[in-house]
Symmetry: C2
DNA sequence: TTGACAGGCAAGTAACTACTTGCCTATGGT
DNA sequence: ACCATAGGCAAGTAGTTACTTGCCTGTCAA
């Protein structure tokens, strides 16, 4: 899950799914190139979605020949739980 | 910052610093091998600390021949801000 | 002042990862 | 039935990254 969000393209995919949930692979490809200026091939996006799915950040469901992708941000809560955000002990620039 | 937390060793370093803040490089090395069962060399840990510092998750200060490291979890708040945690639209297993 | 200790620098290596390329399967409209 | 569309599979490649190795610098205590 930590490695899943380590890639900028995957982070943008999460952004896109947060703005418009339940997109197919082709929809995501189109929007990534149009709105976000990415030049990712379909296969590249597909592999990114696979990583995000393994991380539990995206779920997918088949509808006929379409595969719609749904975002699930819940795994990210582990980060805030593991390292609670608080100011550091000393003042650092 | 995302890439900084993508590595398990660096996550354990953050754990260790959260439990006991303001440690030197050698203290961290010792505790990582003792408590966490890691067999990392000093140079490896040093490089990890450099990555964490570049990410703003760790600050360091020289005191004589000691360099003490301080954790700063504030950059992690960007994650929760960017992708607010909420349940997914549909029920997924 | 000399030696032990804390840490830094830099090149090399091995493993991983993002991406491409080419081909294949399956679904649905006409 | 047929073809276009949506997606999958797998091997290969280039770039990245974690780690090691060897040597060097600076600080403090005896």
């Amino acid at each position: 899950m930590f490695k899943a969000v380590a890639d900028e393209t995957r982070r943008i995919i999460l952004d896109e799914l947060l703005e418009r949930d339940e997109q197919t692979l082709f929809e995501l490809c189109t929007r990534l190139t149009m709105k976000h200026g990415l030049s990712s091939t379909r296969q590249a996006v597909s592999q990114h979605l696979e990583v995000l799915e393994d991380a539990g950040l995206v779920h997918s469901e088949r509808h006929g020949r379409y595969k719609i992708h749904t975002i699930d941000t819940r795994p990210l809560a582990q980060i805030a739980e593991r390292w609670p955000v608080r100011p550091p002990r000393e003042d650092m620039p």
